[in-house]
Amino acid sequence: MKVIFLGTSSGAGKTTVTALYCRYLSRKGVSVAPFKASNLSLNSYVTKEGHKIGTGQAFQAWVSGVEPTIDMNPVLLRPLGGGAIDVIVNGKKQSIPQEEVLKEACGAFDRLSKKYEAVVCEGSGSPAELNLLDRDVANIGMMRERNVPAVLVGDIERGGAFAAMYGTWLLIPEDVRPLLKGFIINRFRGDPSILGEAVERIEKLTGMSFIGTIPYMDLRFPEEDSLSDTRGGPEGPAMMEAFVKNADSLLETAEQYGLDLKKIEEISSS
């Protein structure tokens, strides 16, 4: 099983949804690993082997009940300021061409696929950046190389969520577009029934299935995104336990709100 959660923007909720789905599978007894090909972040978590990975993947691993490893986030891009970036591949600072980065990412993905029944991937930023499309690794790159079906996550709080869904679908290269299977509306407040027609329209226009809304919730996952304000990393088993507990309660809320996790399972198995 494999699936990738793509965001229509940064902070759309990819990290959380990925964690929720990891938790869902893990509670069902499926062995699952999170994966994010590359991460642009200032925060990192140090694995037992001493490798730096994105904090998001560490949380996702915990809620999956597995030990975080470097394969879950093989490429770490560390902004140095002034536009310069450190590329850390498999724990080592490297200067390698674009294709090589994708190759390394695929290698890590393959190792996880062998070891686990499900690999739940998280994209990076928006997959529809016109100025970056040809260099994309974490979104289109992985979808194309490993035929990973995708679910779009859009943030409705700022408005324009339907435009973001449709626009992302339109801008994704045609060869991978059929892999876009579903969409989730995150940070929704109020009565979901008011979305009715709009949701149907997006389904009709794109062929993607509506998977549900996730209500506005105070998330206790420190967002790993470089844009978000995070102070201090996770510490100790108590912290880990708190995350797992929080993931469980989020999962329950999301299910109550009608998030169709079975549908995601179908997509992951397709």
Partner: protein, 604 residues
Amino acid sequence: MDNITKKVKEEIERGWIGPDKSCPYHPCHFTGQDCTFCYCPFYPCHDEDLGQILRSKRGSDVWDCSYCLFIHRQETGKFVMSEIKRMGITEPKDPRMKSILTEAKARYFRKGRSMMVLGATSDAGKSIAVVAICRILHKRGYLVSPFKSQNMSLNSKVTRRGFEVAMIQTIQSKAAGLRNPDQYMNPILLKPKGDTISQVIVEGEPYGDFNVKDYYGKFVTGPGAEIVERNIEFLKKRYDAVVMEGAGSPAEINIYDKDIANIGAAKIADAPCILIVNVEWGGAFAYAVGTVKLIPEEDRGRIKGIILNNIRGDISRMAPGAKELEKILGIPVLGMVPHIGLELPLEDSETLRGMKSKGTGSMVISVVRLPRIANFTDLDPLFMEDTTVKFITEPEELEGTGAIVIPGTKNTVNDLMWMKEKGLDKAIKDLKGKVPILGICGGYQMMGLALEDPNGIEGPRGTVDGLGLFDNITRWNENNKKTIQDEGVFIRTGEPVTGYEVHMGDTEIREEPLFRIERFTGDETEGSFREKEMLFGTYIHGVLEKPSFRRFFLSFVKGGEGILSTSPPKDYDDLIEENIEKLASAFESNMDMEELMKILEGER
């Protein structure tokens, strides 16, 4: 009437003067106004383009042209005076005056153009783009007005006539060089009362409470469109350009037909539109493409340009994407605007959500983050000083604070109960006399002995104990809302204070006052003050904007005086002006202005 005739006669004798910078009220309408005719020589012209008949309180009809700017245009003033002189007119009642007005109108009166800034999301930069465009057009000699048909915000201001208008439109009107914002610039103001209910203010006055369903089902489909239309028309008759701002995204397809805030308003005004997208969050191209493509084909053509906003780092790296976007949509990218560090008011409570503190200065000011906090732009001037402003919800967070501010609220009684549940009431009372405490509006009401609401206007019927910091009693006797501008002095220093009041409930004051307010009916005192205990309370929103009171209050913070002495006091108004200029020049230098002007003039 005779008095006016006499004044006009004097004006005629004096001749053309242009802007009168020696007048203490200058500019009373707009920067660059012509002051030749402070009193209009055509009054009462009874021209419906310029004024309207009003029923006075005594029941008689009065010709009201107080919103007319025509005679204050330099070209009009100059022309009218030269005609008067040419014809040798000396008396205002000369019958030939009428023909001068007709000729002046034929030459210089034209209905204004409009353009609209749409955003792909909230916070895309619509408001600031309108600020920038207003200022750019103003500098190019346009008489310009901002407009937002429907604004949802808890930050409103009061106009000189006592009408409520959203705060951001007041800043935009300042950018347009206008002295006074008016309710026409934001005819529908929604003030959220909870997640689903809003108080609807129409043309500056309370209209009713609506939930989301009724707002769209009854208000918008009922009077909504007509309200938008008459206000746009009103502004078009008075201004050369009406720069309109959309609300949220124009592509919310579930409410598209009922949306009078975006394309709906643009259609009413026949305005070309520009779409602005915030690049910072990523996905900007998708947002742009999706927004345009979800707008029905027959309306899509209104979108004449796109602005990519808030780009951090190297702008040129966006260029290939922008080119591609133009190719896909067939709409030019008018500008790529960098991130601009601004000090402008926080627009809505969305910006406050999750904000724990702002600034890293020496003086720690704790603001009680009331659940129904309102008019929190009151706090903005604090950010100009060497402060750390913390938004607190728990008593423990008050530890080590240098001062406390209890801000305004949409519901005083409920928020007071919330403070009691949290134990914040006790924590604040414990700090009495130890740190300065300032209550503004609802926060001021809370500071009193009791809050009496026998008819259940604000909350449940009955009396609630206040914090007891002052001996005041606030009563809600009738559903009467007070909205008024205040101008006066801070009694202690004799220096100016300006602001406005928006509140229900009246306070019986049993304390030394803070301010003396000038009114037509004579001076009034306002506020409460106990110097020894460092207690301050006032109804005046914007009370911290002028440096005098702000600095006085902060001087009570431990070590405050020393900290303050290292920087000269600054008027918040000047800061806003600096930021408007900064914005306008950033937009102007990163936008294809020629194309923008063509769009405005309907040549695209």
